[in-house]
Amino acid sequence: MLQRLSTFLYQRPRLVLALLLGPPMLYMVVVYLGSLFILLINSFYYLEEFTGLIVREFTLRTYAQIFEPANRDIFVRTAGMAAAVTVADALIAFPLGYYIAKFASPRLKTWLIIAVTLPLWSSYLVRVYAWKLILAQEGILSWFINLLHLDGALNWLLSLPGIGGSSLALSPIGMFIVFVYIWLPYMIIPIQTALERVPASLLEASSDLGARPFQTFRTVILPLAFPGVVAGSIFTFSLTLGDFIVPLSLGNSKFFIGQAVYSYQGTAGNIPLAAAMTMGPVVIMIIYLLIARKLGAFDAL
């Protein structure tokens, strides 16, 4: 019986392909793409302010709202944060990725990779929460800063317009630190993977040809690691762009995209505006992905 079914299927490879591919594609297309499509449609509706009802007819007026100064500021603020976080992560991740790829002994390396991968998969929320404790006014960081008598410097930093705030726990500086912390593993791993592929012989060749270590680093290692950095930046940038947990937990009244979307769809009930604002990150990420592909970052993913 099974034998005959097996033979029946063996002689029809296309049917087998359809049977294998059918369920997952049906799920992803209906549930996921379907939802994205409904989201897109909703972004062309608008909310009648007076009645508070959603008017289901095609209009671009919701998109026009995005370009109002308040919303435009949100985009600029979020993209700026995403860019700053990406740069900081690249700077912190590079030495670690380089060390793991080229200097750690095989045994140590296994452990380091686990140590870096664990926070990538786990407990995003808990890791944000940890910083709530650390950054609290009465918390460990303030205690440490006081210990070093740096409280004057901290107060000066917090008084800066734009990035300052009433305390570390309620300021863009605090958010920046947390974002950098949360997305760091997403940067380390692609950099490590990219450097892993640099054959030792290439480095030997470079030093053989008389390059000093720094020259080797600048002319051989950095260019080869660059696709890894770009691949990592896809994550750090995209994740910062869409996050609303960190701004809600540590931010002040100045909104970020995720936060705005969250509150528009929630308390304000303005689904069309929330949908239109979500298209922002989508478009930014698509452009980003296209550039990244040009730069060869996909090979490093």
């Binding site: 799920y27 407990s123 609303f244 947990i245």
Partner: protein
């Protein structure tokens, strides 16, 4: 493993320092939560701790709302993992065994839910649930989680398929095994650990997911949603510390083992070549 052999140079102290500094930055904050589970202070995060107490573990155990949230989270993660295992394996098998038009598109579609910010998936599902007037339920959460868990299984299983040595599937059929026997005796043993690793990662991913869940849960509370509510409006600080530590540990274990499995299978393959 030629690329692992460093080129006879030791890392400079600057690099070593920067590397270990980065590693500490990555892990010390978590330990601070563990420390705070012992604080007797209910209203602030004062440091140094004003004392040491173990009572919050007991208090947390008594909280019915926490138990409900934990049960819901475990159920959602279990079902989302099963859905992901089935769909991810099917997709991986299809992509591995045949060349077909749009193969790249399949990978792309599966990766999309984790490549795009979580909020996109969340708001899209929320809008759909609203537009179609589907009531929020346990299943709305599961459906949302499965979208981004599938790719984890898919990637693990596909990678394993591609590392499968030689023409084992052909050899099995050649020796008289039909497709089903070949799956049972050859394919399944080859991908079993990849399924285990992918399944555990999917479970961990689902268990502490909050962004998509916020949009698909309605009034239901999963454990991460409970923590999130404490983040914005802290009411039970000491209990939250205990819950955070618990979530940390419960996701830590499957991920740790998934990593070990993946590393091991890569090792044994390297050794037998």
């Amino acid at each position: 493993m030629p690329s692992n052999v460093s080129y006879g140079q030791k890392a400079s102290w600057g690099l070593t320092l920067a590397a270990w500094g980065g590693l500490l930055f990555l892990h010390v904050p978590i330990l601070i939560i563990f420390l705070y589970t012992l604080t007797p202070d209910e209203t602030t995060y004062t440091f140094p701790l004003p004392g040491i107490t173990f009572k919050w573990f007991g208090v947390a155990l008594q909280r019915a709302d926490l138990w409900r949230a934990l049960t819901l989270s475990l159920q959602v993660a279990a079902v989302a993992t099963i859905v992901a295992l089935v769909l991810g394996t099917l997709a991986a098998a299809a992509v591995y065994r045949s060349q077909f038009f749009g193969r790249e598109a399949v990978s792309f579609l599966l990766v999309l839910p984790i490549a795009l910010p979580g909020i996109v998936t969340g708001i899209a599902l929320r809008t759909t649930i609203g537009s179609l007037e589907i009531p929020f339920s346990y299943w709305t959460i599961v459906v949302g989680h499965a979208t981004f868990c599938v790719v984890v299984v898919y990637n693990n299983v596909l990678a394993r398929f591609r590392r499968m040595q030689g023409s084992q599937i052909e050899a099995s059929m050649d020796l008289g095994a039909n497709s089903f026997q070949t799956f049972r005796y050859v394919i399944f043993p080859n991908i079993a650990t990849a399924l285990l690793a992918g399944g555990m990662l999917a479970f961990a991913l689902s268990f502490d997911e909050v962004i998509v869940t916020t949009f698909t849960a309605g009034q239901q509370t999963t454990l991460p949603i409970w923590i999130f509510s404490q983040l914005t409006r802290p009411r039970d600080r000491p209990v939250t510390n205990v819950v955070a530590m618990f979530v940390m540990l419960i996701t830590f274990l499957p991920i740790f083992f998934a990593q070990k499995i993946t590393a091991q299978s890569a090792d044994t393959e390297g050794g037998s070549k």
